[in-house]
Assembly symmetry: C2
Homo-oligomer: 324 residues x 2
C-alpha cells in the first residue's frame, strides 16, 4: 500500500543535463532540480553529486514524506542488470553498475531503464496510455528510441535491450548510422536525421530557402521547424520526408504488436502537425488493412514536469503496483 505522502525520486541522466524530481503516486512533481552532466566525469562522481541533489530535494519537501524508491532513466540503461552499458553521449566505457552506485547511499528499491522505456511507463501510469495495455512510445530526439508495452507490461526482451525500433532498417543502402550499419530509422527520423534530410534536399533542389544560410554544425531541428512554419519549401519537404520514413517503418511496428496507440515524444514531436500529419498519412498508407483507421498517433500526455523524470519515477511506482 502506498501512502499519499510517499514519493519516488525520478532521475533522467542526459548527455548535457541530469534532471531529478520527487514524484508522488499520482504523477505530481513535488520538487525538481537539475545539474550539469559532465561528459568526462566518472560515474561515481556524478552519482555523488546526484546524491547531494536528492538530499537537497528532500529538504525542500514541505511535509514529511517517505522515499519509496529511485527510478533512473539513462541512455542504454538495462533494467535486468541495473546497468548503463556504453552509453552514447557519455564517456563512460563498458558496463556501469549504476544501481549499485546508488545503493551505497540508499536502501530503497532502485531501478534503471533507458529513457524511451521510462517515457512509456510515464504514459502508462500518468499520461495518455492510462488504461491501455498495448501501445508504443517513440522518442524523436538525438536518437530514435522506443518503449513497447504489450499486455500491460514493458517489453524488455531476454536481455533488457528490446525496443530498438530506431535501429530497424529503412534503406539497407542508406545513410550511415552510429551503430555501424546503414539506413536505420534513426538516421532519418531523429533531430540529426532531419538535418541530414535538409542537406540532401539542398543538394538536389533549386528552390530559395532560408536554410541555405546554415552550416551543418549550425542547423538544428528547431531551426527547420521555425522555417517550415514560415512556409520554407525545403523545411516543409524535410518534414514530409521524415514523416514518410517514420510512418513507413511504424507500419511494420504495428504489424508486430498491434498497439492501440503510438505516442511521439522528444524534440521533433514538439513540431506538432509538421511531423504528425505526414507520419499519420504514411503510416495509414502502409498499414495492413486490418490495422487501418484505428491506430491513435498522439503527442505526450505526461504534463506538469519533465516526461523523462516522471517516467523514471514510474519505473518504481509500476514495480510497487506489481508487488502489491
Amino acid at each position: 500500500m502506498t501512502n499519499i505522502l510517499d514519493f519516488v525520486i525520478g532521475i533522467d541522466i542526459g548527455g548535457t543535463n541530469t534532471v531529478l524530481g520527487a514524484v508522488n503516486r499520482d504523477g505530481e512533481l513535488l520538487v525538481e532540480q537539475s545539474l550539469p552532466t559532465w561528459a568526462h566525469e566518472e560515474p561515481e562522481k556524478l552519482v555523488a553529486r546526484i546524491y547531494e541533489n536528492i538530499e537537497g530535494l528532500r529538504r525542500e519537501l514541505t511535509v514529511a514524506r517517505q522515499l519509496r524508491g529511485i527510478g533512473i532513466g539513462a541512455p542504454n540503461g538495462n533494467y535486468y542488470r541495473g546497468t548503463v552499458e556504453n552509453p552514447p553521449n557519455l564517456s563512460w566505457k563498458g558496463v556501469i553498475d549504476i544501481v549499485g552506485l546508488f545503493r551505497k547511499y540508499y536502501q530503497v528499491p532502485i531501478a534503471v531503464t533507458n529513457d524511451a522505456n521510462a517515457a512509456a511507463l510515464g504514459e502508462l501510469l500518468f499520461g495518455l496510455a492510462k488504461g491501455m495495455k498495448d501501445f508504443i512510445v517513440i522518442t524523436l530526439g538525438t536518437g530514435v528510441g522506443s518503449g513497447i508495452v504489450a499486455n500491460g507490461q514493458l517489453v524488455y526482451g531476454v536481455d533488457g535491450f528490446a525496443g530498438e525500433i530506431g535501429h530497424t532498417i529503412y534503406d539497407p543502402e542508406g545513410r550511415q548510422c552510429g551503430c555501424g550499419r546503414k539506413g536505420c530509422l534513426e538516421t532519418y527520423a531523429s533531430a540529426g536525421g532531419i538535418c541530414r534530410t535538409v542537406f540532401e534536399l539542398l543538394s538536389e533542389r533549386k528552390e530559395p530557402s532560408e536554410l541555405h544560410r546554415y552550416s551543418f554544425e549550425e542547423l538544428t531541428a528547431e531551426v527547420i521547424a521555425e522555417a517550415a512554419k514560415r512556409g520554407d519549401p525545403i523545411a516543409l519537404e524535410a518534414f514530409e520526408f521524415t514523416g514518410k520514413v517514420l510512418g513507413f517503418k511504424l507500419a511494420d511496428s504495428v504489424a508486430h504488436t498491434s498497439p492501440e496507440a503510438i505516442i511521439l515524444h522528444g524534440g521533433l514531436a514538439n513540431a506538432g502537425n509538421l511531423i504528425f500529419a505526414p507520419t499519420k498519412k504514411h503510416l495509414e498508407e502502409n498499414l495492413l488493412p486490418i490495422f487501418r483507421n484505428r491506430i491513435k498517433l498522439l503527442p505526450s500526455g505526461v504534463t506538469g514536469g519533465s516526461p523523462a523524470v516522471l517516467g523514471a519515477s514510474a519505473l518504481i511506482w509500476k514495480e510497487m503496483e506489481q508487488h502489491a
Copy 2:
C-alpha cells in the same frame, strides 16, 4: 490443479484438412484424427463434423479421462473475440463466432487463436521454448505467420491481431501481396514466395536447371528443395535469396522484442539447412551489434504429433496455468 488423466482437444483448421487430437498436460498426443475441410461448407456444418470426430476420439481413449477444454488454431483466429475473421483459403465470409459454434456442444473452456500463435504456445509449453520468456515463432507455409511471446505471454495486441510479421514490408516496390500491398515478407518467404523467386531467377539466368520443366501451377517448395539437394543452381539460389529476405526482416523483429530464440515452423522450415543457413547468415549481418551472436535460430521442438494440434491444445493448458 490438473489431473494426469485430464486432456484437452486441440484442433487445427486448415484449408485442406482439419486435424484434431486429445493432448495431455505433458503435450503427449493420446489419439488423433483428421477430416477434410471442404472450402465451401458452412462453418456450422464443419463444426458438426468436428463434434462427431471429437466424440469418436473420446471413445478411443482407453481409460476414463476428463475433457478440460478445446483449443482451436485457425487462419485469422481471434483470441479476444473467439472468432475467425475472413479466413484466407476458406470461403467463410465476415466474422464467424467459432467459439460460439463449439459451445453448442461443449461447456468446457473453448478458445481460438491463429495457427502461428498456437504454434508459439506449443513451443512454450511442450517444445524448445520451455522456460523461455521471449521468443518468436515464424510459420513458413502457404503464408508467413508469426507468434510473438514477450514476458512469457503471447502478444495479441489491442485487437487480437498482433504478430503479422509476414506482412512487414521488405520492398515497397516489390511483389504484389494478397493483402493488397506490395513487397510483404510473405511474398518472398512463404512456400509460394520461393516459387515466385524461382520464376524470377529463371527469367534472369541462363544456367541449366531442372526447374525449367515446371509450370507455375506445378512448382512447389518441396520440388525446389529436392532440386536444391541435388545441387540445382537455381534452386540453391532461390533458398539463398529467401534466407536473405527472411534474415533481413527478422533483424527488425529482433530490434522490437529482443527474443532469446526464433523458431521456424512450416513447410519451408522442413528444408533444413537449405533455409536455416542463409537465414542465419543474413540475420546476423543485419542485426544491431548488441544482438549479434546470441539469437538462437531453431527448428520446431514440438514432437510426437502435429505441432499445430499440440499448439492449439496449449492455448487451453496455458489458460489453466494462468488461472490456477
